[in-house]
């Protein structure tokens, strides 16, 4: 048993071998991470929802102000730019591999190690 309240960390994994279901267990691992992420997004949405309710209760603005707000094409331009930024981040790994193909004749990494290890 632990001493102070600060140091208490609960056991987070149930004892008992965890079953995996997909032919590749890494798919189970990724799916678990995706659902955890979905949970965190839902928490964020709920916080935003509460914020809207608080604002309404204080007479500041309400969900219906948000629903009826008229976005201009130039507002949308700014949003589309943010969408692009999100995509860029999310698909970075895919695009990155192409940068390698396009711009560089990528050396085998092992060869680079050999070179720096053995150049003196």
């Amino acid at each position: 048993m632990s001493e102070g309240p600060d140091e208490v960390t609960l056991q987070r994994k149930a004892k008992g071998k965890r079953p995996f279901y997909f032919s590749d267990p890494d798919v189970d691992r990724l799916l678990s991470m995706v659902m955890a992420l979905t949970g965190e997004l839902s928490v964020t949405r709920d916080r935003l929802d509460t914020l809207e309710r608080v604002a309404r209760a204080k007479g500041l603005f309400s969900a219906s102000d948000i629903e009826t707000y008229q976005l201009t094409d130039s507002d949308m331009e700014e949003r589309a730019a943010r969408h692009r930024a999100i995509f860029k981040e999310v698909t970075r790994i895919i695009v990155g591999e192409l940068e390698d193909l396009e711009d560089r004749d990528e050396q085998d990494y092992r060869a680079v190690v050999d070179q720096v290890e053995n150049d003196g």
């Binding site: 609960l10 056991q11 987070r12 149930a14 659902m35 949970g39 839902s42």
Partner: protein
Amino acid sequence: MSIAYKEQHVHDALPETSHDELARQHFVRSFKEHLVTALHPGLKTAYEKRAKPRFVAEHQREPQSIQEVGQVMKQDSHYQAWSSLLRTSQEMMWSAAQIPVERAIADLAAQAAATPKIGSLRLDPDLQIPSYHTAVDIHCQPGGYHTEYIDNDVAQGAIYDRAVYIYAMGQMGVNNADMGDSTVAWLKQEHPDFKPTRILDMGCAVGHSTLPYASGFEGAEVHAIDVAAPMLRHAHARASSMGLPVHFSQQNAESTDFEDNSFDLVVSHILLHETSSAAIKNVIRECHRVLKPGGMMLHVETPPYEGMEPFDTFIFDWDSENNNEPFWRKSHLLDLEALARDAGFQSHTPIQIMVPSAFQETQRSNTFQGGDFGGGGVWFVYGCQK
């Protein structure tokens, strides 16, 4: 299908939860609802259209057992996704219930200790936690029922209390009391003259099924036992905060220190499937020993597999391999008549009936997750008069 929303009754023994901690719990509840309503029905389709035909093509007959259904279903992409998600929802449920408790573990222990108590609490630090509770953490609660992290710890109880509500998606009422409520309602209807004055609830956990007996049979002396101290500490604080006197003690239902012939009614709620082949015999024998002649034993469980279609059995049996319920399958295949008879119940025929949920009709949705309890709208009751 949508399930009417009703939040758990916030009694004094539950931890405070921040906005986001609560939102995380609500997400898990919704996740489970979605699995039940949107993905569960597809299992039957996947079986009929994809898995079964594959079995039939190979064997020129339909699957006839859990194992044979499993052979083909475990390769089915919908079953795989559903199972992986259901297991994940279970892990997220425990985690979401753990977070506020982990943060406030010391406060919760202090608060439970400080609650003015009615009834009583008797702990036995020397009690051996049975191996069927230590081999794996049952239904995936990390640390099981019994683990203690600090002195006077109530953490596992506080977590379990909240998780049961999330698991059942509110379908067991605001106090998770449906198993007790349903049994009390059935007793009063079927046995109006039965007035138990001394009642024992075995494997009471946080006492969520115990309290209906304390409120339902006024003046009765209600005892409740469990092997896990954190459950009992939480249960005592919880019952006290609700003004219901229960005498909690840390004992194994296989062998208690109660006197022979001392109870009118012995009950348990989803206890039997969390024991073992040897233990279940001991439990039933113990029920017989402590019951007064003419007294009643009632165990609330989910229905036995006998007479079920192989596919339904396979789905109902999901928890046995996937939710750390190692005795689930065997417990649903037992000869319950012989079990009672061998334990000494020889004057009366054992009861094996389906009892309707006491939870108000409009709130019930007939939704099971895997095979596990909560929201089915009906409970299986096994028992016998001594």
